[in-house]
């Protein structure tokens, strides 16, 4: 097939590539933010904040390019669905960056406080799971693979479970006020990682919409179609 709108499709593809790069960056930021908390490492925390500023700038740039494409090209069919996905992806990735900053800030405010190895181990586990989710979610989008996208709710399940379990770990930290303060902050870190997991499931739902034209709600009980 000859592509009659090759310039438009090139711009659409460039926009997608920009966001895939941001997704890679977000995945690395999750690792850095978790390291900043667990090592702890204030330099890493500061780098996460700086990288988020970069994501914010890209977010605005992508938004402007998206509006221009929409106004000038009036895409249809799968191109229109791709535009919808890119707009959603841009917002989701920007929020994932914000969650990484929330984690980095927890590293900063808990610096020097006593810590629990068990909680550190759980945060690390959640971080690893979420990073794997981001890689899978991005891969599903790149490969246009709906089966891979459908893996995400199941991958999110242990993240949710670890997050639900976190308050027990905090309670078991006992009466030491400093340790309790640190542990309470770690609940915020756990919550941020759980939110990022949910955001990756959103990306998988968008991939399914791109491929089928139907909006589907992915949850741990399966997939429910919500029509267009």
């Amino acid at each position: 097939m000859t592509d009659i709108r090759s310039h438009f499709h090139q711009e659409l593809s460039d926009l997608e590539q920009t966001l895939l790069n941001v997704a890679d960056q977000a995945e690395q930021m999750v690792g850095m933010a978790v390291d900043a908390v667990c090592i702890p490492d204030m330099e890493l925390a500061a780098r996460v904040v700086a990288l988020d500023n970069q994501i914010d700038r890209i977010y605005l740039d992508v938004h402007n390019r998206w509006l221009t494409l929409m106004a000038r090209q009036q895409p249809m069919a799968s191109d229109l669905r791709m535009m919808s996905v890119l707009l959603h992806l841009n917002t989701t990735l920007e929020r994932m960056g914000d969650q990484c900053v929330n984690i980095a800030k927890m590293a900063q405010v808990t610096y020097g406080l006593p810590r629990s190895d068990r909680i550190i181990a759980q945060i690390r586990e959640m971080g690893d799971l979420v990073r794997q989710m981001i890689r899978t979610g991005v891969e599903a989008l790149v490969r246009r693979d709906i089966d891979e996208a459908r893996l995400l709710p199941a991958m999110d399940e242990p993240v949710d479970r670890l997050n639900r379990n976190m308050y027990r770990e905090v309670v078991e930290c006992g009466p030491d006020a400093s340790l309790l303060e640190w542990a309470t902050r770690m609940m915020m870190v756990s919550r941020a990682l759980e939110r990022i997991g949910d955001q990756v499931v959103d990306i998988a739902e968008q991939t399914a919409f791109l491929l089928t034209g139907e909006m589907m709600e992915f949850n741990e009980n399966g997939i429910s179609g919500t029509g267009q």
């Binding site: 097939m1 592509d3 009659i4 249809m76 069919a77 089928t212 034209g213 267009q228």
Partner: protein, 294 residues
């Protein structure tokens, strides 16, 4: 030729004596139709159009619903204008043209032996690509059709009502005796729409009605079409996909097969417009509307 149809409608397409509808179309309560769909007004089955031995359009099945705008889109030479002309037997005017299959209007085959093409064209009016007013005053442009058809009512009222419906009255009411040629292109096209509806059709066919107009005049015609669909069923051929997406309730996408004998158009996909433009079922439709065609 009076027929009781499945839709419970009665229609007579023999030559009428008075110009106004000879037999009122009596619409009775229709049962068994799915709630969100308007009743089918025109049903096309197995339509094939030949010019001599060459098949220009093949195998078209379409259901045009009342008070909807149906858009026919597709690349040049795909036969969409040919199909449009079948709806009011305009192809009869081309000597070598031959139509196979059925085009049922209110359940009556428009190509049936006792159907009068003139009466068909009164009920199914047409607006062309280039505004083509008569070289006469504005008033006469509207009054001509009803007069020929033997209209006996108040002609001034009919002219005013037709111009009002075509959203032109306020612009021309002080100069009805002036030549239609003095109007702008957009006004001339609205005059042609007023002329088409002056004979009380219930279907208006439009063949690229905005292709000769600027964007403002185009939007005026589009707004007018949305108003008119309350009273009329509209079928429009357009090359402007945004226009089809904006205006129509249903879209038929045609494509073309090229062989040694020539180009034969065929219907690829027909469906609700939002579906066609967001998630078409056929790869060919997808390719055409996203620009990956060819």
């Amino acid at each position: 030729m009076t027929t009781d149809t499945a839709e419970g409608l009665e229609v007579d397409l023999r030559r009428s004596s008075g110009g106004r509808p000879m037999v009122e179309i009596a619409s009775r309560q229709v049962e068994g139709l799915s709630a969100p769909d308007n009743p089918i007004l025109i049903e096309v089955r197995g339509l094939r159009v030949f010019y001599g031995s060459f098949e220009a359009v093949t195998g078209v099945n379409l259901a045009i619903r009342q008070n909807e705008i149906t858009a026919l889109i597709g690349p040049s030479g795909c036969g969409k204008s040919t199909v449009l002309r079948c709806f009011n037997r305009m192809n009869d005017l081309i000597e070598s043209a031959r139509v196979e299959g059925t085009v049922e209007y209110h359940g009556v085959d428009l190509y049936g032996p006792s159907v009068d093409p003139v009466e068909v064209r009164r009920r199914i009016g047409m607006v062309f690509q280039k505004p083509n007013p008569f070289p006469k005053p504005i008033y006469d442009n509207i009054a001509f059709g009803p007069k020929v058809a033997g209209f006996k009512g108040n002609m001034d009222d009919l002219v005013e009502e037709s111009l009002r419906r075509a959203a032109l009255w306020d612009e021309v009411k002080g100069k009805l005796t002036e030549s239609a040629y003095a109007l702008s292109g957009g006004q001339q096209q609205r005059l042609c729409i007023a002329r088409a509806i002056a004979t009380s059709p219930d279907v208006v066919l439009m063949d690229e009605p905005c292709s000769a107009l600027d964007p403002i005049a185009t939007l005026k015609i589009e707004e007018l079409m949305l108003d008119l669909k309350k009273d009329y069923t509209i079928i429009i051929v357009t090359h402007n996909m945004q226009q089809a997406a904006r205006m129509s309730d249903r879209t038929a996408f045609f494509s073309v097969d090229v062989s040694e004998q020539g180009r034969t158009g065929y219907l690829v996909e027909f469906g609700r417009t939002p579906d066609i433009f967001t998630r078409p079922q056929k790869a060919e439709t997808e390719g055409y509307i996203t620009g990956r065609f060819g």
